[in-house]
């Protein structure tokens, strides 16, 4: 490894050499980003890691002079490919974009022009910068680049529009447009955050190929595990300042700052089972010890019994298209016992959410039955279901949209406290807020003025209000920053140990399931391909799809030097 580092230092050109970078907006206001040193060599991947608002995107964009209107960018040294960028005029920057640097943004759907084909989009940089002349030459290069990023049938895809492509293909098309001009430096801002793990692995591989081909890569992410496998060096940002930096192995094994330690500890995996992901709670230091091994409050009562449920969606024939039926769910059976956490993993379109909606009684299965607490639940009328409704609750991914925008926190929780007198209701609301770690003066606030983590806590409090036997959690942490995710997962573990509520936990993140679940169900194309205890299924999978999933999972260990293991 030592030899490796020296190799890196030897002779390769410095693409970016920035020292003492600070970016601010208001003339007198404090800078948002301060004192950042950043150097990227050719053939090297540097990762900027930090949570929302840490200034990582702003820092990266300043390298393209895209920090935003009114941004004041100052630096002791600001050199791009050896030239002093502080003296650049707009013309110079425009030339730089696309030829020297390419930018890959997070949301490919909004980053690609809906009125232009993928081919036009990718070809634009070539014609704009006169890298190639002539339609034929450009078309040929476009198709070649689309193929290089792993898009199948590039000739067909080049003629399609962004909305006709799946999320993974769109993201790859965006990368294609960023690398079409063969830039020396690629800046990728959370390029895989909204993607399924297998697609994420493919996208990261495409970027890694460019690095091997000699390009520099600045990868921005909130997740250390994602960057671990690809980055040579990691810079950890917090509140606009560098708190840690060094080679990936160094930062991951010997973090200098407690914040980095916290970020690493926050990554859920098998290794984190039974311990807290987030910082210890000051409210209950005495409870830490028992929480290390939450007592399995589980008994053999079957809370939920799902037998052979199936659902098909029919799309009626429309203008210029044939009728189409898709099987969303095919013959799925499983049980959830009292106090048990059952994880469901699968990619988008695997039927996870359809399954959740059927379990919640929001959707009726075409065949099969669901029984809740031993009583029939599916294919009965809603009025018959109502009696058992409080026993089954729901925590959605997007907490905010699940709150009536006119309701305050207290009203949201109180709505699920049917049949209590106002005084008892207020007392119970306060108790629930305390249980999920929210101060009671938040009760009068509107959820839109709360942070993401707080909203999810309100959502949990609301579900607990009904004292349910089972809570269906549909990706409850996947929209949260890693640190907030850690807190919410800790809270769920804690509550589950204390209250013995069973959870049906849907996630595309294997790490979360490994951390939390007792048993796991693996969904693929609407079928339950594998199920069993987490320790078995996610270590020695029998199904080839589960193996693919596991192989795609970003892991911290990948960032460590091989021989260290």
């Amino acid at each position: 490894m030592r030899a490796d580092v020296q190799d890196d230092a030897g002779g390769r050109p410095l693409l970016v050499d920035v020292q003492g970078l600070s970016i601010g907006f208001a003339p007198a206001g404090a800078p948002i980003v301060q004192g950042i040193d950043l150097a990227i060599q050719a053939g090297e991947c540097v990762a900027l890691v930090g949570e929302s608002g840490s200034g990582k995107s702003l820092t990266a964009r300043s390298l393209l002079n895209l920090a935003g209107d009114g941004a004041r960018v100052e630096a002791r040294r600001f050199r791009i490919r050896g030239q002093d960028a502080r003296a650049f005029r707009e013309v110079d920057w425009r030339w730089l974009r696309g030829t020297v640097t390419g930018l890959v943004m997070q949301d490919a759907l909004v980053s690609l022009d809906p009125l232009r084909t993928i081919g036009q989009e990718v070809g634009e940089v070539l014609s704009e910068h006169r890298i190639l002349r002539g339609r034929r030459a450009i078309d040929a290069r476009v198709i070649e680049v689309l193929g290089r990023v792993g898009i199948p049938d590039p000739e067909i895809r080049a003629r399609q529009y962004a909305h006709q492509l799946s999320g993974g293909l769109r993201q790859r098309a965006l990368i294609a447009s960023a690398i079409a001009g063969e830039p020396d430096l690629i800046i990728a801002d959370e390029p895989t955050t909204s993607l399924d793990v297998t697609v994420q692995a493919q996208v990261l591989e495409v970027l890694a190929q460019r690095v091997r081909a000699g390009a520099g890569l600045l990868l921005i992410s909130h997740d250390l595990a994602v960057v671990g496998g690809i980055a040579d060096r990691v810079i950890v940002l917090r509140d606009g300042r560098v708190v840690d930096s060094g080679t990936t192995a160094d930062v991951l094994t010997r973090p200098r700052h407690p914040y980095t330690r916290g970020l690493i500890d926050a990554i859920p995996s098998f290794a984190s089972r039974g311990r807290r992901l987030g910082p210890a709670s000051a409210r209950s230091p005495d409870r830490i010890a028992p929480l290390r091994h939450p007592p399995p409050a589980r008994d053999d009562t079957v809370v939920l019994e799902v037998r052979g449920i199936a659902k098909r969606y029919a799309r009626p024939a429309g203008f210029g298209r044939r009728a189409l039926a898709t099987t969303a769910l095919d013959d799925v059976s499983f049980d959830v016992r009292a106090g048990e956490v059952v994880g469901i993993v699968g990619e988008s379109g695997s039927g996870k959410s359809t399954c959740a909606r059927i379990v919640l009684g929001l959707l009726s299965p075409d065949s099969g039955t669901v029984r809740l607490l031993g009583e029939p639940w599916s294919r009965i009328r809603e009025t018959e279901r109502r009696r058992l409704r409080p026993r089954l609750q729901y925590i959605p991914q997007d907490a905010l949209s699940s709150f009536d925008p006119r309701y305050r926190v207290s009203e949201i929780i109180a709505e699920n406290l049917a049949g209590l007198r106002p005084a008892a209701r207020a007392a119970r609301t306060a108790e629930l807020l305390e249980q999920v770690g929210l101060r009671d003066d938040l009760a009068g606030r509107y959820p839109r003025s709360l942070s993401g983590g707080q909203r999810q806590r309100v959502s949990i409090a609301r579900a607990l209000a009904a004292e349910p036997a089972l809570i269906v959690c549909d990706e409850p942490v996947s929209a949260l920053d890693i640190g907030i995710q850690a807190q919410v997962l800790d809270l769920l573990c804690d509550l589950r140990a204390r209250l013995g509520t069973a959870l049906l936990f849907i996630s595309h993140d294997l790490g979360v399931i490994q951390h939390l679940a007792d048993r796991v169900l693996v969904f693929h194309h609407g079928r339950l391909v594998e199920h069993g205890p987490v320790g078995e299924v996610l270590t020695t999978p029998a199904d080839p799809y589960t193996r693919t999933l596991l192989a795609s999972q970003p892991r911290l260990e990948y960032g460590l030097p091989r021989h260290a293991h």
Binding site: G262, A282, S401, L442, G483, Q487
Partner: protein, 302 residues
């Protein structure tokens, strides 16, 4: 809002070694403080407040009778005695303008109320799940909006006859599709909103969900549009009165006043300018205020 007093209630921050909580708190929105209004909005609101007062008690603002005047005193230019001058029949233009506020506001608001009530009813009916009903009502909206508003109102007045109530009904009917379509779209949006699904998970009945979640959120959207719409209703009403389809002379309605002043416009500008200005200012005030409300409530709608 700094980390030590952050209102997240996540009391873990103080002792947390890695203080991940602090970041969560840092992203909370700005605390609600004292709000300042742009001067234009304040002016519009003030104008409408005065207008309401004038409409409610016109005699507090003028001692002259709007209906009688001394013909010998006709067409006097604005002076200290008659601030807005006098019209051909010697009636005080200021008094007529002041008394006219009541008619314009009443017909404008009345027409709007008819549009809103009918539009909300039909829009919600269409926005709920029944497909045939939706198709039928949507076509009704199409037919209604295929006529220009003024033309449709004229048609209705032709059937119902002239007069204040009829003209309110006429502009009311013309405005139905405007509200109906928005309500329909909003109902469809709200009925599929996550918080409605969530209410079903609580075990609330359909009726309860509708009353607690669907209806209020649909109405929030409407209230804003209605404010903007009052202005254009008043404009339509004035136009119809000008054409002689609304209240009849000598009623001091602004449109009627404009029509009456048309013949003397060559010699006297004041009988036309003041009611005209009253209409313009009222329309602008409502539109400004409505536009402002729209911006403020945009984010809160489902």
């Amino acid at each position: 809002m700094n980390a030590s007093t952050h209102p997240s209630g996540e009391a873990t921050a103080a002792l947390a070694p890695a203080d991940l909580v602090g970041l969560d708190a840092a992203r909370i929105g700005v605390a609600p403080g004292r709000r300042t209004y742009p001067p234009g909005i304040a002016a519009a609101a003030l104008f409408l407040a005065v207008l309401l007062a004038v409409a409610a008690a016109p005699t507090l603002f003028t001692g002259y009778d709007p209906l009688t005047g001394n013909v010998l005193e006709g067409l006097k230019a604005p002076n200290w005695e008659h601030l807005f001058g006098t019209d051909r029949l010697g009636r005080d233009v200021f008094a007529r303008t002041v008394h006219g506020a009541r008619y314009s506001l009443l017909i404008g608001l009345g027409g709007m109320a008819i549009s809103v009530v009918a539009g909300v009813f039909l829009g919600i009916l269409a926005g709920l799940r029944h497909r045939l009903l939706d198709e039928g009502i949507a076509r009704v909206f199409d037919v209604l909006s295929s006529f220009p508003g003024v033309l449709l109102a004229m048609l209705v007045v032709t059937f119902l006859g002239q007069g204040m109530v009829n003209i309110a009904i006429a502009v009311g009917i013309a405005g139905i599709p405007k509200f109906g379509r928005v309500v329909r779209a909003q109902t469809q949006l709200v009925r599929d909103a996550d918080y409605v699904t969530q209410a079903a998970v609580y075990g609330l009945g359909r009726g309860q969900v509708f009353v607690r979640h669907v209806l209020p959120n649909v109405l929030v959207a409407i209230s804003v549009i209605a404010t903007v719409y009052v202005g254009s209703t008043i404009l339509t009403v004035s136009g119809l009165s000008f054409l002689g389809l609304g209240p009849q002379p000598p009623t001091p309605e602004w449109g009627v006043m404009l029509a009456e002043s048309r013949d003397v416009l060559r010699v006297a500008w004041w009988p036309a300018i003041f009611p005209g200005a009253a209409i313009t200012l009222t329309v602008i005030a409502f539109s400004t205020l409505g536009g402002y409300l729209q911006k403020r409530f945009e984010g809160r709608l489902a």
